[in-house]
């Protein structure tokens, strides 16, 4: 690759590369606009779902998009922090599923909203704590450790669901209380459910954590150079551990929102979440090796991926979904690699 390595060039961006740096800061917004325009214009097929062709209609389409986006909005902030720290969490989907299963099981068994929510959040802390223990304390590579817990959490979630049933849900003998929908589906303000505003609050907290706290600065330092961070006195073990617990809580909250939206707990409902979170984070310009990234831009990335998800449900046959997501991830990686400054391994 013919990239001129200029030590001053990183401090003093030359004018020839300025368009690139402008693009680097704003391409995710451009991508979002392009996606929205395409989905608003395209009208294919005959099956009527989610008010096809009215993509920009608030009541019919955008409210629905935001409701469906609640889990990924809740998760993406914590996930981005993990990526910024140079780690990865592949178990978020399974943690989400397990939380949703536990939450719906508790609701089905007559516990009230507060008890179920708090128990699920404590479960989330536990799940994140296990990840943190494996990675920060036992020093198992993040990918392997979270693959282990991914399989573990998924296995537990599937075992909790009785044999022969696909999900924890109401039946003839035992109905799911109607109030389960109140949190994730019923409109509170402008048609949006309470869970959406909780997700926004989580995002704001994550932005504050990233920009304004010691934890956020330590996260960036660890992602930039772990050895240096450790030598300069940062408690790497504790910081990484806390980050995984944060993601665990986010996953539990997302699981509650999802279970409340669907009014059931399906052990497979989180499976697509890892890929979605990863695409959102990378589209948001977070550097995969850690050290730089932004929660706000990752949220824009999440919005893009949700537009694509909804678009795939409405205008394109569903079996295209996996291909398009894979292609988007490949393209996102290529784009970010092109825009990012040269970094040695």
């Amino acid at each position: 690759m013919k990239v001129q390595k200029d030590t001053l060039g990183q401090l003093n961006v030359p004018s020839t590369r300025s368009w690139k740096s402008i693009l680097k800061g704003s391409y995710m917004f451009i991508l979002l606009i392009i996606t929205v325009v395409i989905l608003s214009v395209v009208k294919l097929g005959e099956v009527e779902m989610f008010a096809r062709g009215h993509f920009l209609n608030w009541d019919a389409s955008i409210v629905n998009l935001f409701r469906m986006a609640v889990p990924i909005f809740t998760l993406v902030g914590g996930f981005t922090l993990i990526i910024i720290s140079g780690h990865i969490d592949l178990s978020v989907g399974s943690a989400l599923s397990l939380s949703a299963v536990i939450y719906s099981l508790m609701v089905l068994n007559g516990f009230n909203f507060a008890t179920s929510l708090i128990t699920t959040l404590i479960l989330g802390v536990g799940l994140g704590f296990i990840n943190g223990f494996l990675i920060a304390r036992l020093r198992i590579t993040p990918v392997i450790a979270t693959l282990i817990t991914m399989s573990l959490y998924k296995g537990i979630a599937r075992l909790i669901v009785p044999a022969g049933v696909s999900a924890i849900k109401g039946s003839e003998t035992r109905t799911m209380p109607a109030w389960i929908n109140n949190y994730g589906r019923e409109g509170v303000l402008a048609g949006l459910p309470a869970a959406f505003f909780v997700a926004i609050a989580v995002i704001i907290v994550m932005i504050i954590v990233q920009k304004g706290t010691v934890l956020g600065r330590h996260t960036i330092a660890i992602g930039g150079n772990m050895q240096a961070a450790e030598l300069s006195g940062i408690n790497v073990v504790r910081t990484v551990w806390i980050l995984y617990v944060i993601v665990g809580i986010c996953a539990a909250l997302a699981g509650v929102a999802r279970a409340s939206y669907m009014s059931l707990g399906d052990p497979l409902m989180g499976d697509a979440m890892v890929l979605d979170c990863l695409i959102a984070t990378l589209l948001g310009g977070t550097y995969i090796w850690g050290g730089e990234g932004s929660v706000i831009k990752a949220v824009v990335g999440a919005l893009i991926i949700m537009c694509i998800n909804i678009g795939l449900m409405t205008v394109i046959p569903p079996y295209w979904q996996l291909f398009i997501k894979g292609a988007v991830l490949v393209l996102a990686v290529a784009l970010i690699n092109y825009l990012a400054k040269e970094k040695s391994l």
């Binding site: 990675i135 198992i140 991914m150 296995g155 079996y319 997501k325 894979g326 990686v333």
Partner: protein, 344 residues
């Protein structure tokens, strides 16, 4: 102890005190684990000890070993490969699609391209190599994290399989020759695929231990900078490994599609995790520089015994998720403990 998170502590040290190498030590201890596991299973599971059952164990998991060869080599260089399952599914589906007669049946899934069998297989393998090339380009050339790239190509390739099969399967209007390769029984219940797998394993073991290419693989994993400085073409090496891995996955996909005489988009779904499990069980270090194909084969047998025993004990199939994760965890910790004690 290294200070970095996730370091492969002590794994890369080379014993010079006239003992057997760390690698043989791990392989030997895994072999002992197999015997212990089979012993326990024979006590608790009725009829487990029968020779036919033991043979079935290995032959049912042949594709995991075959896929594990490429993954092991790549893991030795410190790179992940999660796309093998998707590539296998894609290749199987594409070979069926190319081979199906080019009719105008109202059922879209019955119409293919009508190519001769050999051409169809060759083109499908070419597609598999294409996915390998994408992996190699991003990992070796652009230096993107291999976990992200192969996760992307995993869904990309399985996505192609889903598009071609409309999310279902293609199994009609296939020529008779299509089902031959996957259903040849060589000895008793042993299929040709098992012998192809054994052949691949032997070749891989020779390459790994006896050739410059194999030794360079270890060097790259142990210290990439040193390898580069001593003249190893790292990018080219990793490119070749990704192409080999995709090719093997393609062969597996074609053999499986031929065995079932159908191209199914959900074929061996989630096998990526199993392959990673068996490579880790076989002693391959996560951070590279250490491991062996024979170890992967032994790891597969352990997984097969445990999967079969849990079915024999009438546990719900969901238990296998939990068992697998616990076993991998124990394997990683045990190997680390054994090696750190050994290399004090």
């Amino acid at each position: 102890m290294r200070s970095g998170l996730g370091g492969s502590d002590g794994v890369n040290k080379i014993s010079t005190r006239g003992k057997m190498s760390n690698e043989s030590f791990i392989t030997l201890s895994m072999f002992i684990v197999i015997i212990v596991v089979i012993g326990f299973a024979s006590i608790f599971v009725p009829n487990f000890y029968r020779p036919q059952n033991i043979i079935n164990l290995v032959t049912n998991f042949w594709y995991i070993i075959a896929l594990g060869i490429g993954v092991t080599f790549l893991l030795i260089t410190g790179n992940f490969e999660l796309s093998v399952g998707g590539v296998a599914a894609m290749t199987g589906v594409l070979s069926v699609y190319f081979c199906q007669s080019a009719g105008t049946s109202p059922n879209v899934l019955a119409n293919g391209l009508g190519l001769p069998y050999g051409v169809a297989v060759a083109l499908a393998l070419l597609a598999a190599l294409g996915i390998g090339a994408i992996n190699a380009f991003f990992v070796a050339k652009l230096k993107v994290a291999s976990i992200v790239v192969t996760l992307a190509t995993m869904s990309f390739s399985r996505g192609i399989a889903q598009i071609v099969t409309r999310g279902a399967q293609r199994n009609t209007s296939l020529p008779d020759v299509y089902g031959v390769v996957g259903n040849i029984f060589v000895v008793g219940s042993l299929k040709l695929a098992v012998f192809i797998m054994i052949f691949f394993v032997i070749i891989a073991a020779i390459i790994e231990k006896r050739t410059v290419f194999g030794r360079r693989t270890y060097l790259i994993g142990a210290n990439m900078q040193a390898a580069r400085l001593s003249g190893v073409k790292v990018a080219k090496h990793i490119t070749i490994l990704y192409l080999i891995s995709s090719f093997l996955a393609g062969v597996v996909g074609i053999l499986l599609a031929s065995e079932y005489i159908s191209g199914t988009s959900s074929r061996i779904m989630g096998v990526e995790f199993d392959v990673l499990v068996v490579t880790l069980l076989g002693g391959t270090a996560i951070m590279g520089g250490f491991g062996s194909v024979i170890g992967t084969a032994i790891g597969t047998v352990i997984l097969a015994v445990i999967a079969s025993a849990s079915t024999g004990l009438l546990l719900r199939p969901e238990w296998q998720f939990i068992l697998k994760s616990v076993i991998v965890f124990i394997a990683i910790m045990a190997q680390r403990f054994a090696l750190s004690r050994r290399n004090l």
